[in-house]
Amino acid sequence: MSASVTESAAYPAGPIGAIEPTLRADQLFIDFRDVWLAYNDELLAKEQFAVEAIDLKVRQGEFIAIVGPSGCGKSTFMKLATGLRRPSRGQVIIDGREVTGPLKISGMAFQAPSLLPWRTTLDNVLLPLEIVEPYRSQFRQKRAEYAERARMLLRQVGLGGYEDKFPWQLSGGMQQRASICRALIHEPKMLLLDEPFGALDAFTREELWCTLRDLWEAQRFNVILVTHDLRESVFLADTVYVMSKSPGRFVVRREIDLPRPRDLEITYTPEFTAVVHELRGHIGAMRKEGAEVAQ
């Protein structure tokens, strides 16, 4: 194995915090402490959890990716991290505070861009500022200032000149860029992306990887990226977590220490391929187990 690649560790069952590198409290941003979630009381009584025994420690500004088979609880994990759901057991601590409701410091983007068709691209990007404080109360007075900020953000992702177009006049890739701008306009500390590039063609997808990489390099917010695409996860993330299916739990944690900034060229190096291959191995093993159980 190449020197630039660290050992990955397969987790034993149960809490896995011990394997994580120790972090000082002030470096910690996301801290899941033995988190279990059942969707309702009935399922809780039957001990059927959507995700279980999640222990996760993420540094300030770290880019993590979560990969796993579909239906493995990745989206549930996102809901926990944003405070849309509270855990049945355990604690979620983000930015030093226990999460008890929607955080307002996070932005989200999904596979579907879900822009509002009656608003222009610019107005779509401005939407969060009409909702989240402190922008909300100043929105009328400072609209011009905010619009300028949105225009700058749109230029950064290559959408300069499309501000006044409606979403349905943009291509899929452009809509997704606008959707990411909308997730970032209120300068969130945490960006959550749920398979954001899943519906795009391969070339557009790689372009958007670079867009996301540049935005992250510039602002260093925390990112949680949920994806099916192993190359995407290895190219973008500092740490990749592999999640198993029902019950959803993290089975592998893999630090990616390919040098940054990463260029698309890196995806053709043997080091990169080795990591992708290794992750593929974990997922393949899991799928096989799943198949055996099914029989």
Binding site: P102, L116, W168
Partner: protein
């Protein structure tokens, strides 16, 4: 270009053809004016009685508009309630469907007992018959919000109200305008039916009195006027719909 014009003019062309055929049949078979008047006979009556017809038509028009206005207010509020709360949806929807299945004409005798002959029953019949489509459409527009979009906003700490006003309502506008087009025609039906038994004025009353005195030409002229008014209002809402919610009709406009 030619094809486009043909498409645009096609309703007019069809109308002219039907009128011509009608006239032709009446003349060819020498149909009595007391049974089935020809278009030209109807037109003569329309001119002859134009001031009487105009007076009754105006009455029917404003009565319908009052009933329709009430049904917009009630329809939107009820639709908002049903669409924004699952409990309200479950509780109200079945009852409302049952209510909608009742023939509204059957309410008229009761309304006459309560409000007497005249404007009251007509306005209320117009309202009762036309609020349902508005309610259903607003409720559907609100209830079919994409969950992802809702999450995007809720993560920001958006309250229910924010989601409804920023996304739900604008999103249901095309449904709303669409429902008005259906509702206005129903409202005219309601008013006319009510006037037939419970009024001394209005096109409905005119139809009944013309019929009972064998003035078939006049009765048909009355029908023509109601049809024209409903059609004009329909086109008005159609126009407003196209110009306020163009984003929802982009497919048909681009081609």
């Amino acid at each position: 270009m030619n094809r486009k014009w043909l498409e645009r003019l096609s309703p007019l062309v069809l109308l002219v053809l039907i009128v011509l055929l009608w006239e032709l049949i009446c003349r060819a078979f020498n149909v009595s004016e007391f049974i089935f008047p020809s278009p030209s006979a109807i037109w003569t009556k329309l001119l002859e009685f134009h001031s009487v017809i105009a007076q009754h038509a105006w009455r029917t028009f404003w009565v319908t508009m009052v009933g329709f206005a009430i049904s917009i207010v009630v329809g939107v509020l009820l639709g908002f309630l049903i669409g924004s709360s699952r409990l309200a949806y479950t509780a109200i929807y079945p009852l409302m469907t049952a209510f909608n299945a009742l023939p509204k004409a059957a309410f008229i005798p009761i309304l006459v007992v309560w409000f007497g002959i005249g404007v009251g029953p007509a306005v209320l019949t117009a309202f009762l018959i036309s609020f349902f489509p508005i309610t259903v459409n607003i409720a559907t527009g609100l209830a079919t919000l994409e969950p992802e979009l809702e999450d995007v906003l809720r993560v920001l700490g958006a309250k229910r109200w924010d989601v409804l006003t920023k996304v739900g309502l604008p999103r249901s506008m095309p449904y709303f305008w669409g429902s008005l087009k259906v509702a206005i025609t129903l409202a005219f039906v309601g008013t006319t039916v009510s006037e037939m038994t419970a009024a001394n004025e209005g096109i409905g009353y005119l139809l009944i009195s013309a019929g009972s005195s064998m003035q078939m030409g006049l009765a048909f002229a009355g029908l023509l006027v109601v049809g024209a008014m409903a059609m004009a209002m329909y086109e008005l809402f159609s126009f407003v719909e196209k110009h306020t919610t163009a984003w929802a009709h982009r497919g048909s406009q681009n081609h």
